[in-house]
């Protein structure tokens, strides 16, 4: 799960975060990124305290238990809308990147269709398959990232970080808030029932956030060190522009490394968000299988990914301004609300005994032949929470 969190965090942040950090906080963007990741770690404790109360439930099921059936279904639909919108955004960002930086003559719809098909196939195979693929691709992504950092070392200018805190703490706080709200790791609460060791949730999430956050901090810092805050804020995909600066033997396209890292990470973020959206809708509508929703939601996603915004500039204006507030309602306010209402309604007994007995356990039927709660795909017995038993 840590590896999934790592890929998830890299999904959009590694390419888009540096320019926003530099725009808001200028040369203090690196401080803002550290603060943003620290905020994320705090929210992991928040999620852990919520999920510990209901260890066999996903977020949607907890919402229905705590808020009641009908209000819970409305909030569940809102949560589905958030996850589905996130998935469409990610597909659109991938399309915008490919059509502006790599293949400008390709229609954006083609990129969306290709990515949507791959994501639908991945989600159709289940979260366990996605997790195994993430594990396989973790080392190559990490290797490429380390290579990128090494190749950029000669171009670093530490003067680009000065003067520190020239504009005071407010821009740093705002940039940190913007970075924090585009992480959306709340999605992993939809995967909670797939963990073979739910008691390790906090540890694995923190490990993933630390590694992923470290990569983001390094990327933002490198962008400012190499390009300077002016160039970083003016480049939409600053880290990709950073990679273009590298020249190895005058023929090696190192910017392709950044594109590969980012596309792999974006694929995983999109797949996990789409899986979360499908499971959220399945549980809200009390369906038996989430796989029934993959094809229609994929078709709908194609529409939403085109119409969601008209250009990359509108996206860059929208994300830190509007999406950050919309996202914080789901990733911070909703879990806090659930914890508070749960304590007020049920006290020390999570959900009340009668409620818990009447709500069936999630994660497929008892006769599901694929269900193996202790499955460990890589034989990992080291105590990390492993994704298993796809939530059919």
């Amino acid at each position: 799960m840590s590896i999934l969190v790592f890929h998830f965090m890299l999904g959009t942040s590694i390419l888009i975060a540096p320019s926003n950090m530099a725009f808001v906080a200028k040369q203090d963007g690196w401080l803002a990124s550290i603060l943003g990741i620290a905020l994320m770690m705090v929210t992991v404790f928040l999620y852990d305290s919520l999920m510990n109360r209901y260890p066999k439930k996903t977020l949607i099921e907890i919402i229905e238990i705590v808020l009641g059936k009908w209000i819970g279904k409305v909030i569940g639909l809102v949560m589905f809308g958030y996850l589905f919108l996130l998935t469409s955004f990610l597909v659109r960002v991938a399309g915008s990147f490919i059509t502006t930086q790599v293949m400008p003559e390709t229609p954006i719809e083609v990129v969306h269709i290709v990515l949507a098909i791959i994501v639908m196939i991945a989600v159709g195979y289940g979260i366990e398959t996605i997790a195994r693929a993430a594990e396989l691709l973790f080392m190559p992504v990490l290797f490429l990232f380390v290579l990128l950092v090494i190749f950029l070392m000669p171009d670093i200018h530490f003067d680009n970080l000065l003067p520190i805190m020239e504009r005071g703490p407010k821009p740093i706080a705002l940039a940190a808030f913007n970075l924090f709200t585009i992480q959306e790791v709340l999605v992993f609460l939809m995967l909670y029932t797939n963990l073979s060791k739910p008691n390790k949730f906090r540890r694995t999430m923190l490990a993933g956030v630390t590694i992923g956050g470290g990569a983001i901090i390094l990327t933002v810092t490198l962008c400012i060190l190499v390009l300077g805050s002016d160039l970083t804020e003016r480049n939409i995909f600053a880290s990709y522009s950073l990679a273009k600066k590298i020249s190895v033997a005058k023929f090696l396209r190192v910017d392709a490394f950044m594109a590969i890292i980012w596309l792999i990470a974006l694929f995983f973020k999109t797949a996990i968000s789409f899986y979360g959206a499908a499971v959220a809708l399945k549980q809200t509508l009390s369906l038996h299988r989430y796989k029934v929703l993959i094809l229609p939601l994929g078709f709908l996603m194609l529409w939403l990914s085109i119409i969601v915004y008209s250009s990359i500039v509108e996206f860059l204006n929208f994300t830190p301004a509007i999406w950050s507030l919309y996202s914080v309602c789901h990733v911070v306010l909703l879990p806090i609300l659930l914890i508070v209402i749960d304590r007020i309604r049920f006290g020390n007994t999570p959900g009340g005994k009668a409620k818990l007995q009447s709500v069936p356990p999630s994660g497929g039927t008892a006769a599901d032949p694929n269900r193996n709660a202790n499955a460990s795909p890589n034989g990992n017995g080291s105590g990390s929470a492993v994704i298993s038993a796809p939530n059919e």
């Binding site: 504009r167 808030f177 299988r289 796989k291 029934v292 929703l293 078709f299 085109i306 119409i307 507030l325």
Partner: protein, 84 residues
């Protein structure tokens, strides 16, 4: 315009057939599954036709902008107004 509508309808029929082939044939879906699938497919088909014929170009994000716009302006003003 007609060709776009035909292509999207064909895609929709193709996806429905694929759904039947992959899921509903092996394990007959419940009524609720089939209803939900049908509703989402019809909505997706209609919306894609409207999009590709330029009948509806307004982004649904306009709702979010209306809700969060004033708060976000205040937040941006708070964070970005500082000494240069």
């Amino acid at each position: 315009m007609i060709s776009v509508i035909i292509w999207i309808c064909l895609t929709s029929i193709g996806l429905t057939f694929l759904q039947w082939l992959l899921l509903f044939r092996k394990r007959r879906g419940t009524i609720s599954e089939r209803v939900v699938f049908g509703v989402i497919m019809v909505a997706a088909t209609a919306l894609n036709i409207m999009l590709l014929n330029d009948w509806m170009t307004t982004s649904p994000l306009i709702v979010l902008r209306a809700i969060f716009g004033p708060a976000s302006q205040m937040l941006q003003h708070w964070g970005l107004v500082g000494k240069e």
